[in-house]
Every structure is written in C-alpha cells, then in structure tokens.
Symmetry: C4
Subunit: 363 residues, 4 copies
C-alpha cells in the first residue's frame, strides 16, 4: 500500500489503520456482535454481476444527479457518522469541506465533534442527521439549529432505540479521547465521556429516546420545514409506512452493521423496498459501498444514490480534507469508468437490467 | 479474551478451554464422527437473516414466557447434559443454582454427577431428563425420585438407542476422573467408570434400552403424572407421532451433533416440524444457540424456547454458579437487545416474518 | 493419528501415507487433472443430510444383503483396483482374504499383482473386473480363467477407452517397482513396466481396446455364463442402454476421479440413474465412500451397495490382511451405528426419505 | 513444477512467473479492480460438470473444425493480446509461428510489439484485432495493412471505450521496457511509452475512440472485404444487434477481466447469447480456458471455439515459439483426452447435453 496515494478505498482503509490509534480505528471500523451483517453488507454486492452494453454511443460520463431536489455532482453522499475528530483534528470541518469541494451532499451527524454552527459554513449542500432524544426540547433545539445553519433535509435515524453492542469497543474499553466531544451539546456531562466509562462508554450517556413511534416522525415533520428522511429501514412494510408518514426519502441501512447483528444486508433489502416504494420517494443505499461499480449496482437495484460512512474516516485519516477530496475523486473516477465500461454515459440511464445474479445468465 | 469477563459465549468457551483439562473439554465440546452435524447446527443459523422493524413503539423488552405452563424469565432452558463436575467441583449444584437465579427452567440429566435429591433444592423450576434403561425398575425408580424431588416435566431422550461415537474421546481414552460419577445410581459399578476403560468408556456401562418404541413413551406417560417431552426428534412424521402419543412438548434436537453425524441441523429441521405440529404442542430448539439473535431466529421458525447445553459448561468452568449466572445474564441481554433492535418488546411478538433466508429479499 | 489403531478411514489414509512410498501413495490416492472430480466425489455426500427416525422399535442392526444374488454381510464390496502389492507384499492375497473374512464380495482387478488363480482361493465370493483388450483372445482367455477360478460376475470397465492423465504420476515418473507386475499376463513385456517409462508409464503398455461399443458388451455376454456388470456409467441414458444390452447390475462410477476430470460426481449421478433404471437392475455406487453414513446415503439414493477402492489400500498398508479386516469391521460398525441411530435395523429399510438436501427442511 | 516440461497450463504460468520480470508478469496476468471478474471467468467453468457417455464406438478424436470458414486443427484460437515481446524477445514472431505450427488461427493484436508485415509471414491463417482509433485514417490504414498482409477476418474490440484500471500496473508504475513498442505505429510518440508515465501508462497515449456506436461497426464493414467479428459482447441484446449489423462471428468476452471489474463471467454469459443468436453466427468464448475439458464445456454451451490469451504468454515465456507449440500441443492432448473420455470422437458431436450444473443430476 502506498500511504501517500492509495489506489482504492481498501488501500485508504489500510493506510488509515496504520495512522489511527487502534481503539479509534476499531470504533469506526467495527460492527456489532460477530460482525455478520458488517460482512454481509459487502458480500451482498458480490451476489450481483454487471451486464455491460457496447457500441451504445455513450460519451463522457455524466455523474451529476439530484437527491431530494439538491444537485449533486455524483450519486454519493457523505453518510452521517460520529466524531470525525477521532481520525483527524480538523474532524467535521475537513469532511464538510471535502464534500463541498467534491460537490456532494454532506450529512452532518448529531454526534459530530464540531458544532453545527462551525461545520455548516464549510459544507456545500448539507443535511442534518438527528437522533430523537428523550428530552424533546433538545431535539427541537437541534432541529432549529440545523435549520438556522442551512440544512436542507433532516435524516432521522430510526434503527437506534438503543445503541448496538460493538464488542471491540468493550474490549478496548473505548472512550472518547481528550478533546473529542459531542460538540453539539452544551453541558459538560453531555459533551464528555467519563474517562473510566466501562464497556462501550458511548451508550451510557447518549440519551436517545428508546421508544420510537411513527407518530414521532409525524411530530418531527410538524416542527420543521425540512424534508424528513428516515434512516435505517430494511423492511418493505416499513418503507410503505414511511411514505404514509410523509417521508421524502428513505435511507435503506442497517447502520453499517453496528446495530442488529444478523440483520439483512442493506443491498439485499433494497430491491424489495424499491418495489414497495415504487418510485414514490427516493431511496438511498447505505452500507458496503467500496467501489464505483458498487454504486451502479445500488442504482440498478433501486437507489437514487448511496451514502458512504467509514471511507470518510479513512480519507480524513490519510490526509484531512485534502485526503478525503482525493478519496472522493477516486471513487468518482471509478463510478465514471464503470459507467462508461457499461456502455452508459449518465447515471440516470442505469436500470435494473444492468445487473444480474452471479451465476449463469439464463437464456 | 478476558477470562474474567468474557464478552460473549464464544469467549466463555475459549476461557473454559484454557481452564478445563483437555480430555474433559473435548468430551463436552466434541461431536460424533467428522462433526459435520455439530458444525451444521451453527451454520443453520447463518442461513437466516433478521428483518428488523422500526418506529413500532416497542418499549422495554419483555423476555418472560412460559414453557409447558412453567413461567420462565426468558425463552432459554438449561439443556440436560452429563457430569457438570467435569468442569467445576460444584457441578449440578452450581448449574441448578444459576438457573434458579436466572429464573429459567433447569433440565437435570440422568447422568448428573450429583444426585437428584442434592440438586433439586438448588434449582427453581426444573425438569428431569430420562434415558430409558433396560432395567425398567431403574427407570421407574428414577421417575419416582424426580417426581418426589419436584420435577415438573419429564424429558425423554429418544435419539440414543446407542451412544454415538465421539472419536475425540476415544483418542483421549477419556474416562471419568476421580470423584465424578453417575451419582444417581446406587451400585459402585453403575457409578464409576473403570480407570482402564478403552475408547469412549461411557458407552460401556450405561445400560440404555437400545430398542425403543412409541409404546415406551406411552408406558412412561402411564407411570408419571408429569408431562412427557421427547427429546431428539428431527422428522416431521415423528413429531406427528409424538403428538399422537401424548407428547406435551418436543425438543427438536440432534443431541448437539453427538449422535448421528450427518443428521440434519436442528434449526434446519424446525420449520417443517413446526408446520407438522401446527401449534398442538410446544417446540424447543436444541443445538447451536450461541447468540441472543439465534434465540429470536429459533422463535421465528417455530420454537417456544431454546435450550443451551455446552455453554452451561463454559459458564461453570469460568466461575462456577456465579460464572454461569453471568453467562446467562449476558445471553439475556443479547436477546433483549436483539428484540429491541428488531422493533419488538415482547418475545411473544416474534413471528415467521422476522426472518428471511440469507440473500436478496424478493420483492 | 494412532497408526496401530486408526479410528476411521481418514486416519487409515494418513497412516498409510506415512508407510507407503510417496510415488505409490500418490498413484493410489491421486486423480486426473486438477482432481476436481476426485474432490466432488466426497463433496457430493455433503450435499445430503440424514433425517433419522426415533422410537421405531429397531433392534440389532442387520447389514446383510445380497448383490446380484450373492449373499454379503454388508452392502459394501471391494472395488477393483490395480496392484495391491504396491502397498503390501501380500497384495491381493491379503485383500481377498480380508474380504472373505469380512463376508463381502471381492472384485479382482485384471491389473492385479497376483494372478487370478493365486488370489481366487483366498477370496470368498468374488467378481472379476475386466478391461476389454485389443487382442480379443486375451480378453476371452481372461474371462475363461475367471470363470474357471470361480468368479460369480464379470465387471466390465467401460469408462477407460484410454487411461486418464494423473499428473502426480507423471511428476513422480511413477513406474511399477521391482516385483510388482501385471501378474495375469504371461509375456514379460506385458507384465513389467519399463524402468525408464516416461510419465504415467502404465498407459504405455496396457493395450486396452480404445473403441468400445455396446456390441462389445453383447459379445462379452455371449462368451460367458456370468452376469455382466458395466462399471463407469454416469448418464441415465447409458444406464437404459445397459439394461437393453443385458446388464445385470451397473456400477455408477467415474473411476474414482481418475479418468475424466470434471465428470459429474458419482453420488450426484446416482438419483437420476436410479430413476432411469427403476429397479430393473441393481446399482452399485463407487466413489467417495469414507463413512458408514455415506453408505446409507448411497442406499437412500438408489444403490444396492457401494464399493470402496482406495481405502482397501490403506487397510493393507497399515496391516496387511489383518489391517484390512480391521478397516472393514470399522466401516461395518459405522454403518451399523448410523443405521441404528437412523431408527432402522435393516439396510433393506433404507429408502429415499432417509435423506434430504442440506439446508432447511421444507415444510 | 518442472520448468522444462510443465504438465499443464497452470504449471506454465508458474514457470513464466519465475522467468518474466514481475511488472511484465503482472501486466499480463492481472485484471481490473479487485479482479472479481478475472476469478469469475475461471469459477464459471466449475459451475458445470461433464456427463460422459460410454460404449459409443468413438474412435480417434478428431479436433479439426473451422471458424468463420477457416480450417483449424482444433477449436482454439490465439486471442489477441498486446506486446508479446514483454515475455520473449521473439514476441509475436514466435506466437504467430507457433499458431501456424499448431494449425490454429492466430489473432494479431493492434498493440503487437512487431508490425503486421513482420508477423503475418510467420502465421498460418490469421485474423487482425482492431481498436477503433479517434483518427479514422489510422484505423483505415490498419485495416488496409491487415488486408494486404493476408488477414482473413477483422476482430473489433468493442469493450474498450476507455482502458480499464489494472491497479497492479499502477502499483508497479508499469511502462513498456526498452525495445517494446506499439510496433504498428509510425511516429515515435505513438510507439513508445514515456519512461516516467504515471500509473497505468498505457492508457495515456493509446488514442482509442471512446464513443463507439453500432454505426462504427457498419463503417468498418464498409471499408473492408473481411468478415467483421465484434469482441467483448456479454449481453444477449448486443448479440442480436451485432447480427443486425452484419457480424459474422462474436467473441463473448469481458476482456479477460481487464475492463469492467464485476462484469459477468464470459462462460456465464454464453448460454443466453447462444440462445439469442440461435446459430445465426459463430460464437467464440474468451476467458478462463485453462484445461481441455473447459473447451468442451464452452462448446457444449454454444461456442464454436475458444480463444486463449494469457497462456500464450506463458508458453512464449517458457520457451519462445517452441515453448508455445508445446503448450498448444498439451492443450490439444487434453481436449482429445476429454473428448474421448466423454465418449465422443469429434468436437462437432459436442452438444448441450454433455454438461450439467454442478450438483445432483435431477431425475
């Protein structure tokens, strides 16, 4: 691996592993339980092959698209993930800046290590990811701050009534290092993780609402003018319910394999959700995307775009904002190449027929 | 692995392997033949994924259930297994005590290393596991003792007309160490295994009835007031016969892969048995459960509860009664977490739709 | 591995590997090409699981059966294989003797390293395996000698118009060591392999008929009073043709993966052949049997009995005739155990319903 | 591995790896991206088994066939591949000569390291592989030169609007070594790769036409009297279009896994293309052929013949023209053996029924 110029996202990950303290790396890289779902998120892409077309007259690849009406230079969003400072001191300032420079939508995590108001000016178009807190006043205030700072959508995480068990964190007795905090919160006890926190310390003081209802989604929609996008849906019936409750988009996700281990892979869940939604809202696929061709597979199976989470950290770790820009441009080039080699020149041309299950193509 | 506080059942097993003499560990851990069925019991769980639901309003997870009318704090029973003294001097005294403290049903093995009358007072609700012996007087006496000591069901092992070949035991020339005996039997030659026993010595002096008939089940039912639960059924037709012969419950089991190597995995057999039984009796799934989410899979596929065998030994080995309580609480926490992350708050809500075969979810 | 008392056939193989010169071991153990078919012969057994029955009243296992009307103590035959002297000086004298002592049918190979007349008196019931030679007089003479010596059936190998390429033999520049000859042939140039034979030397002087026709089978039937059993049939249509040409039995075989690499596994071919033959002749399954339960699987899928080839060599290598008797008794005990644990007490009770494809049992 | 006389193509590859500089070896051996498609090209062959027939009266194997009307001694062609000088100084002079001596069709690559006019006299029947260049005058001139030199068909690569990313080349900073050039081009800047070329330097100065249309195929057909054979088709609909645009043959190919990684394996694509084409043109299977039996599988699934690419380099590397002749004769012998052991004596007899999917043969 060439740490200065990794050739692909896997090399970025390897380079990051050498640069980031083990406990922080494990926190980002790991999954829940036996990491079955973490691996399945990747394996699901291998269950599909691409059937390229030739002599189509396809010209320069055009990757530009829109997500929920926001223009994006490619069908990739920065997934929300916590504590970018864990891997680089510039943290979210750098990741937001990289997304802006790459022309893609940035999703800011509630659990960012810089506050909304500091990160927003660095970003281009950005969405805000929200957990629903027990204290609805906190929730309401976060929404108001996100709106005020210019967020254009509200991504509501619905798969975390309780934080999953990531055993590597417990093994490492992981806690936030000095200087990394829940920067969006005022009170010190909200912001800092006690040094002697046992186990996966994070779970001990993030006061999520553990009893979530569809009416909570209605409530959220009622307190914001932003489109609401539930994140963490895998069941087709839940996708239908989301539509009934006004979802403008859906992030098909198992939280990167960090919540319910053994949950269905995100890509495996996508086709049935696409059938259920039938074009009535946009779908984002979250989980396992590591190659440009993965993006095309997700689009073929029904996604409007994909989100990437862990690779954001690898880009930051390797070179801060510039490193992440390089990683995003690498991914962009891979998508463009895969598109062109598929005989297409616009991501909008990707349809279900681009992919087929691995194995003999039936006549 | 942190031997003091293993994070999951696999770590308990690893810790136990370091604490227990190899021959005893192999006796507990091993399976018959090439251990195909032993591995399949685990692999069968990997053939299913969970499809979690969100925003369901599920609150605190309630794991309490009943098995054959007996209340249990979670849908897990202690499976019958022989010679708990092999891994800890307190043996069944400790395992029964741990089950009581955990609020779950304890199944006492005929081949216990402490006698019924010593173990029963330590247990909460408990069942007695019975082999049918050639000498029916012995059988009758065991039943009478179990009834007198307070057993609330009779689990009859029906898959052991002869003991399977566990080659590791033969390789180790395994015999019971000094102080570990078939404590439920009076005569010394029944209780002790000759020191020079060749091969899998156990087989040489356990005088099971090798010709078993459904009429034997009828006979057993006729000599006891306890509900009779055959253990070791894999064929749907046998499940139907069991119902006809008055079974109140059925343990779907291949004896932990210790009898017929290459027998179908217990979880693989479960759905068809559930279809055959169609709710007319309760099903217990035995074999391969190592994670909380495994319990949910078994419930989704038709089990009322699961039993765990080998992990009982790992808990005992690591810390006696307290160690086993910790293991059981760990498993309970995993079930609760998996339930909550599935969008449910009661094990009674688990239905077939919670799981789907591994692979793309069909639309 | 305990070389004195291996616990299973795999241990016999390992013990033999340590005792037999590498080139001879490779000659026996190896397969053609990439050994795909050799491995598939084993893997095919793993595609099936057994569904044992319980409480059937099954008593002592009875393994006795008949093959082509000949009584046999179990549904296992010694497959024809060349040059038993390669692994033990007593060669076929020992293997025939062991088969007699075990009460099973011995199939003598044309390529035996002792002559028919020497081996026959050691055997109990025995069959003669024949290659058709270019020189029909040789063929005719071999048949006459086999008849005279007491063979009760003629197994005609039909899958060897030319000898397959076993690259290990070429790599080892394998040739028959001093004292090991085609003992059934008179002339020195027929009997001995030139010391400087290049590559797989055997192929250079075995003058098989390379153009074989169904009419050759008719011709063979016309020159013998023995039942003719073609060996090496995999296609159902060939099984039908064999019946039309008077075959009394069929050996479903790919020559132990030694002929056409990538040929279908023998067990994979069996069910379709059984359907084609529909009971009109007996089927023998050859290839991959290493465990007692494998025998039951073959019977369930349509075989009357199985033949074992390479294990004969391992038994001989470990202990000559006595060693092979021990191996055969080990296998017998495994069959008996598997039968009993399946709830049966007679191999004649094995039916298709005993097995099911690996994976969840459909309701 | 015996470097002097490798026993199979895999051994030739291993021997070549020891002889060829790593960067050149990697250039030839490698594939795009994660090499998923490269591996799948091989794995696809393992999804099929052969069902040999017996007693068919098949005599000496006849491998002779024709491709597009050209006689060939076996159904194997030399695939076009670049820069044979990378592995042997005689380069295409040797490979063309070997093909002539083996009696098979040679496909000359545009990117040959000897010019058309030097290579053609060494070849027997040969085809010319063409990329369409931005400068149509170059394209036209190449076609004219190929015609003048005696090519009998024009293979047009249609899967390379842009060169795929082969990361090993980037890692190795691969560039053409001194003396290896695009020998078919006049101007130095066309011929030589700059020594300091970054990454996969080839991509930087091969001026392919990146916008390819079916009308380009029409145009090509209009400027040549040779039959036009598009290479790189995987989709059945493209095969139909190729027919409509006058294709006389089709090379079913994913460019040896060097273009779109994750593209369907060539053999997996073949059956559906054969169904689409329905005998209206000849199909060549390119990708993954390493054994004689692979050729039969490709023929059974619809190919007229196969092409081999990388093995050409291994043969050259090991022994120049003579080495490649030996490799080709080895492959021929393997095809003949597989044919004969399948009960056939002419490649024209191979039909779909020769193969079946790996697994139990359905009744």
């Amino acid at each position: 691996v060439n740490a200065e110029a990794p050739l692909n996202l896997a090399e970025y990950e390897a380079a990051a592993a050498a640069l980031v303290p083990k406990a922080a790396f494990d926190y980002v890289a790991g999954g829940a339980g036996d990491e079955v779902t973490l691996r399945e998120n990747r394996a699901a892409f291998d269950r599909w092959r691409v059937l390229p077309r030739v002599l189509t007259g396809a010209g320069e690849p055009r990757l530009a698209t829109s997500v929920l009406g926001t223009e994006a230079s490619m069908p990739v969003l920065v997934a929300p993930s916590a504590f970018h400072k864990l891997v680089h001191p510039d943290g979210e300032l750098a990741s937001a800046g990289a997304a802006r420079r790459a022309g893609i939508v940035y999703t800011m995590s509630t659990a960012a290590s810089y506050p909304i108001e500091a990160v927003a000016p660095r970003a281009g178009a950005w969405w805000f990811q929200l957990y629903v807190y027990r204290d609805r006043a906190i929730t309401r205030e976060l929404v108001a701050r996100a709106e005020a700072a210019g967020a254009s959508a509200l991504v509501v995480t619905v798969d975390t009534p309780i934080v999953g068990r990531r055993e590597a964190d417990e093994r490492n007795r992981f806690s936030l290092p000095f200087g990394v905090t829940f920067a969006n919160f005022d009170r010190p006890e909200q912001r800092e993780m006690p040094a002697n926190a046992e186990g996966s310390g994070l779970a001990t003081y993030v006061q999520f609402e553990s009893v979530l209802r569809w009416s909570d989604l209605d409530w959220l929609a009622s307190i914001t003018r932003l489109p609401v996008v539930p994140k963490g849906i895998l069941a087709p019936d839940d996708a239908r319910l989301a539509l009934e409750h006004g979802a403008r988009g859906i992030v098909v996700s198992n939280h990167g394999g960090r919540q319910l281990d053994s949950a269905v892979a995100a890509l495996d869940a996508l086709p049935a959700i696409a059938a259920a939604v039938d074009g009535r809202c946009e779908l984002l696929l979250d989980g396992g995307v590591r190659r440009g061709v993965d993006v095309l597979k997700a689009l073929a199976l029904g996604a409007r775009a994909v989100t990437i989470g862990r690779p954001i950290h690898w880009g930051l770790a390797v070179g801060g904002e510039d490193g992440l820009v390089r990683l995003l441009e690498l991914l962009r080039a891979e998508i463009a190449l895969a598109l062109q080699l598929s005989g297409l020149d616009d991501v909008a041309q990707v349809t279900r027929s681009l992919v087929l299950p691995t194995g003999p193509l039936s006549a």
